[in-house]
Amino acid sequence: MQGRSGSPSDPSSRDSQQKSSKEASEWLDAARREREELKQDNAQTIEETLNPPKDARSWRDPTLDTPEMAQARQRQNARESRDAKMAQSGNSPLEPGNLPSPELQKEHPTFRGIMMGIITVLIFSMVVITMLYKTSALSSIPVLENAAGDLISETADVISPVQSMFSDATQGVLGFFRRLKFLSTLEDEYNRLREENEQLVYKAMLADELQIQLGQYEDISEEIKRNENMLPIACNIIGKEPGTYFSTFTINRGRADGIEEYMAVTSFGALIGYTEQVDDHQSMVRTIIDSEASIAALIQSSRDQGTVRGSLGVDGQPMCRMYYLPDDHLPRPGDTVITSGVSMSFPKGIPIGTVRESTRRMESNKAYIVVEPTADFEHLEYVTVLRYKPEPEPIQNRSDASIELVPLESIRPYPTIRIGSLNYFDRANADDDEAPEVIVVAETTPPPTPSPSPTPQTIVVATEDLTTRAPSYEYQVIQTTDPNWTPTPTPSPSPTPYLTVGPLDMQLEEDE
């Protein structure tokens, strides 16, 4: 085009551009009209091709042209001739790639140029101001620096609310989709949580059970440590007698573990019973509440000894009865009953129970006291067997026929009476040279059975031959091997409570 070589400010080129634009618009209108006509022609042609009339000949037959077809044919011929002319002139037909850029289609270039310039200057100045402010280049001019800072801060103040609103909207939309996703997986999540909850409940139950077992194991461990000298061994109860009149159970230890018959069985320090039948790897224990059981016991306070038996087979109560107590006084309710260590291999001092009630005897053989066992027989799971067994001491000089009875030791001097002596009171006639000989000899008789309660060793002192000397009262101080020994104070029995009424406290009361 001619206008393309000139500058936009050239009036001639501007006029030519305007003229060409006008012509282009006119041609475009013509092209639109032609297109509509072509559409109609094509539709008519297609219709005739698909549904040709019975007497139709080829559409190319000019003799059959309708007036519209004739015009269409004429236009087609004109187009072909024009293209031929353009091809001859060396100008290629208009094609999409050869169209000029849209820049030439713009109108009002001055106005547009001014706007572009203003916007460009504004943006560029904003860039420069921001750069100078960030590099502190305006620090020498405080006014400009403040202005730049205000501009930047105001820009940020304008953008921030929009950004926050957009962000909130985004989060809202994302939250909606997250909720949808959550709802879609709600059922799976529920099932998963349910299974997890079941597992956790099981674990919690297991933890509680293990906690209880741990407490029990700790108690057993303390008990074992406390009674270490009695060789305790912890056992599990693996079977219980289901009846209501006998109370026996089976433990998982036997002869292979050092257990023998009639060994004490305790639980948390209280006597449960004793082993009755022992196999290699299990044992049967009879409890103290069983009516077949019989254990030597004593009242801790009064030291009155008796026999404890169970009352389960008698009256069906899980209690014990203590028989053969002395008649002079009865124990009070609340007194502790312990093992006496007299029979079986029981250590002495194991708590059995407490006195619950006592009966006034009608006959001595029916007098008993009810002892409430300390142990809980309904919740037994673990027991301890005391494998205590006293070792028999060798008997020395057993063949010596002269068995001499010697008194036990005492801190108080006591007179020694010689058997066969005639002169009991003539001390002066005694030979001074015949001083009594005090011979300290070794133990000639086996000592008493050692029990857990510590007792001092005694030394037997043999005196001289009583048949040769005149009788006299002699005070001998028995020496012990332990100079620091002090005797165990004999416990005084608790006084039997009784009511003392003086004469002044009594008064006459008349019968009504």
Partner: protein, 214 residues
């Protein structure tokens, strides 16, 4: 006269609308970049909406609008999300200007010149140019960042280079997807008017239509 005024008003409104759409797309691209895309990470990377918008504006509008777009993004990122001082402010406009030289539409004179010297005389496909422009933007960005790290920390870890390559790939794929609706938003492909290339042909009385392209 009235028709002239009407056409003037119509054209003016069309131009204003085009510019308004441009600024709206620029600002919307910034909001999407800072508010939406951080919620959709891929391999701990997020695509660059800014480069996609800049590439589309470069191809659709030309060099001047590309500079506007780069400068506005530089100002926004420098004020709101500054990482290294002046890096955003200088990087975005400079890279926009550079890539506009490579990927913007050629002028009519340049097309005519290329055609006269025997070349095709056409612009390449705008979609290809937009895709390549976005890729070049992301390449420049990763290179500048790695260079800054190397100069500052004396570090050049290989994992960061691989991460940069992944970012370039992600940006390219994102640009390929987003440029289509963005170009439609800008009104592309645009209906062009028929302007004859040669001396006006005297139409015949039958007013033959001319070929045009849409």
């Amino acid at each position: 006269m009235i028709q002239r005024l009407e056409r003037f008003g119509h054209m003016f409104l069309r131009s204003v609308l085009r510019e308004v759409l441009l600024f709206a797309a620029i600002f919307l691209g910034y909001l999407i970049q800072v508010c939406v895309l951080p919620n959709f990470p891929f391999l701990s990377l997020q695509p660059f909406m800014l480069f996609t918008v800049m590439a589309t504006v470069t191809v659709c509008y030309g060099r001047l609008r590309a500079f506007w777009c780069g400068a506005i993004y530089g100002i926004l990122m420098e004020i709101m999300l500054s990482t290294y001082q002046l890096m955003n402010l200088l990087f975005y406009p400079a890279v926009a200007m550079l890539c506009s030289v490579l990927f913007a539409d050629k002028s009519a004179q340049q097309l005519e010149y290329e055609k006269n010297i025997g070349k095709s005389g056409r612009d390449r496909s705008p979609y290809l140019r937009t895709f390549l422009c976005a890729q070049v933007y992301s390449v420049f960005y990763e290179v500048v960042n790695l260079a800054y790290l190397y100069l500052r920390e004396s570090l050049f870890p290989l994992n960061l280079v691989l991460r940069g390559l992944w970012a370039i790939l992600l940006c390219s794929i994102f640009a390929l997807i987003v440029m289509l609706p963005l170009r439609m938003f800008f009104g592309y492909p645009i209906r062009r008017r028929v302007v004859p290339k040669v001396v006006p042909y005297q139409p015949s009385s039958t007013q033959e239509p001319m070929q045009w392209s849409i």
